[in-house]
């Protein structure tokens, strides 16, 4: 198993892409350092510029601005076919007139490998994706999951410097998607692949990535490890896009004590604040960190009137509102929610550790 090494391997420096004569900034001043062997996800809503960024890395789109540097060399001027990057598309893009074997052999034949070396390598990769017995089939005689495995083998077989995937599992059903997430992650680890993975599915990004770059309207809001993104989102957008959150606008009332005042009362964070009194901040508390309490404490708690209860099987989503009508979302276990009914009063509290304050 390879460990990501700390030196930047692929580097985007202030990369932008403008369309419509500059009016539309599809990608706006994006900088990322990608380490060798790293699994980086580009996560963001539709139209946020993920595909455009990936296409510029692949060499299918020319950046309007900025540099893309691979091992110290600017590759912006190098055409896609000389970049040696593997690419997996959402619609698989398998060559319909070639067998599975020929599809996977394609990049090796272009590199003029000897036929027996090709047969050996293709065989090895087909085995890795579990398709050995399908070598002679045409792509249209395969299921979606099998087709994507072929595409995967084809993108990896020539030992590319970087592998790029654009929503590779977007067309598959949930079970198959989870299975392939696991397989891709396992292959990436085993082969030490540097992988850039575009998705708009946050759970996919959370479970697979070493780091996630969260895109919004063409720029990057935050790049960090998944748990960091979840626990300490850098912006309101990230906090609301990744996972569920309670986000309250607040003003700092006591920086030393870490207390801010919000519409649902004073909220106290664990550490002193590095900002002035009355500075505007946002207080975020994840729904699962708000717990039922015997009585609401002076700060970090309130009393809610239960508005709705939705059972998800493994957890229960409860929405309550404060006396002056502010909504608070909670995640409870089935047992915790058993006694609740809409209209009931519910005292809740949270720990200072679980309060995340961010600049709006």
């Amino acid at each position: 198993m390879h460990q990501p090494s700390p030196d930047p391997f692929l580097r985007l420096e202030g990369v932008s892409k403008r369309y419509a004569g500059g009016a539309l900034r599809a990608v706006d001043d994006v900088s990322i350092d990608i380490r060798r062997g790293e699994f980086l996800s580009l996560l963001g809503p539709s139209g946020s510029g993920k595909t455009t960024t990936l296409m510029m890395i692949a060499g299918f789109e020319l950046p309007s601005d900025g540099r893309i540097v691979l091992s110290g060399r600017d590759i912006v001027g190098i055409p896609a076919h000389r970049r040696n990057f593997g690419m997996v598309f959402q619609n698989y893009a398998l060559f319909p007139h070639m067998t599975v074997f020929d599809n996977v052999a394609y990049p090796l034949r272009l590199r003029k490998l000897a036929p027996d070396a090709i047969a050996e390598t293709v065989g090895r990769y087909l085995e890795m994706v579990g398709l050995t017995s399908y070598a002679d089939r045409r792509p249209n005689a395969l299921s979606g999951g099998q087709q994507q495995r072929v595409a995967l083998a084809r993108a990896l077989v020539f030992d590319p410097a970087v592998v790029l995937m654009d929503e590779p599992l977007g067309a598959l059903d949930k079970n198959l998607r989870e299975q392939l997430q696991f397989e891709i992650k396992a292959l990436q680890r085993k082969l030490g692949i540097t992988l850039i993975y575009v998705t708009h599915d946050q759970s996919e990004a959370m479970t697979m990535s070493d780091r996630i770059a969260v895109f919004n309207a063409g720029h990057i809001e935050q790049i960090a490890a998944p748990i960091e993104i979840y626990r300490r989102p850098a912006t309101r957008f990230v906090g609301e896009f990744v996972g569920e959150s309670n986000m309250f606008e607040a003003t700092v009332s006591d920086p030393q004590a870490g207390v801010v005042s919000t519409a649902i009362g004073p909220v106290r964070a664990a550490a002193p604040l590095d900002c002035a009194r009355d500075a505007p901040v946002l207080a975020m508390i994840r729904p699962e960190l708000i717990r039922p309490a015997d009585a609401p404490p002076a700060d970090n708690g309130t009393t809610l009137t239960v508005a709705s209860i939705v059972h998800f099987g493994d957890r229960v989503a409860v929405e309550g509102s404060t006396a002056d009508g502010h909504t608070v979302r909670l995640r409870l276990s089935d047992r915790e929610a058993a006694a609740l009914a809409p209209g009931a009063d519910l005292a809740v509290s949270w720990r200072p550790d679980d309060v995340h304050l961010l600049v709006p």
């Binding site: 690419m87 619609n91 893009a93 319909p96 272009l110 249209n140 299921s143 979606g144 087709q147």
Partner: protein, 302 residues
């Protein structure tokens, strides 16, 4: 229709189509329905095509004393007739090859670079359908005549004795290529347009130069268009009559013209019918060859 079947991808099971709504009253049994739908076409084809065809075949084998293959014997032993049949096939082949060479780049640009340019190209190509092909043939006479546009331009450029093109095989071929080119372009365009652009990206990403991508991905995937277009052009060309007659010389007669003169000048209906039957047989044989070799493309076309 897309080669990669993105829609078939989400599930391994075939989708369950509910039975079609009955088109007719429930009393009509199922297997009858397609025949009822086809009935008008069957009547049309039988009345206007199969019956006259049978008539022609009958004509070719019935002599004054009943059944005879005399006319076929005459055809296949007469070097003049055979030469014209051979020439007809050679001309059709030449025209087909030139239609491919000229039509492929047009269709390629239209399909690959889409947008305004593509639409404009296809519009220009189909626009020639709006003018009758007789008019187009006469236009070529004006252009290629000894005092025509081309000669005038060539003389203006200092060529004192530009070659006479009108009433030669070259003029006849130019006219036929011009008339048949749109069929080729549209056949090619229809197939090329359905080639998924991400296949070309995938190929480049895997290391293929633009030319390698063209040769190993685009060209094979557009082959059905070449084959369909060629079959169309070749077979239509076999029956050309007016264009070679008006643009070519006497030595450029094709078989359709020969059939015409058999009737008009010799009133030999039997020999004319025989030639028509031979032409039909050649056409059918070509279709059979086509089907044998290229029916295969259905393997990857849905």
């Amino acid at each position: 229709m897309a080669q990669t079947m993105p829609d078939g991808a989400t599930s391994d099971e075939p989708t369950d189509h509910s039975p079609p709504r009955p088109l007719l009253s429930p009393g009509v049994t199922r297997p009858l329905r397609p025949w009822l739908l086809l009935a008008p076409a069957i009547v049309f084809v039988t009345g206007l095509f199969l019956v006259p065809l049978a008539g022609i075949l009958r004509l070719s084998v019935v002599g004054p004393d009943g059944f005879t293959l005399e006319a076929y014997g005459a055809f296949f032993t007469d070097p003049f007739y055979l030469r014209i049949l051979g020439r007809t096939l050679a001309v059709a082949l030449t025209v087909t090859v030139f239609c491919i060479l000229l039509g492929y780049p047009i269709a390629y640009v239209a399909a690959r670079y889409g947008g305004r340019l593509g639409t404009a190209l296809i519009l220009i190509v189909t626009m020639s359908f709006w003018t009758s092909f007789l008019a187009r043939t006469y236009a070529w006479m004006v252009i290629l005549g000894s005092q025509g546009l081309l000669s005038t331009v060539l003389r203006g450029l200092g060529w004192e004795e530009p070659p006479q093109l009108l009433f030669t095989g070259i003029a006849a071929n130019i006219g036929m290529i011009h008339i048949l080119l749109p069929f080729m372009v549209l056949s090619l365009f229809a197939v090329m347009q359905r080639i998924d652009p991400s296949l070309l990206k995938a190929s480049a990403g895997l290391g293929a130069t633009p030319f390698q991508t063209f040769r190993t991905v685009f060209l094979p995937l557009s082959a059905p268009g070449i084959i369909n277009g060629s079959a169309l052009v070749f077979i239509v060309c076999l029956g050309f009559y007016v264009t070679p007659e008006l643009l070519g010389g006497p030595q450029d007669q094709m078989i359709a013209r020969l059939i015409g003169s058999q009737i008009e000048q010799l009133l030999d209906w039997r020999e004319a019918a025989t030639m028509a039957a031979v032409l039909l047989a050649v056409t059918l044989a070509l279709f059979a060859v086509y089907d044998h070799f290229f029916g295969l493309d259905r393997l990857w076309r849905s």
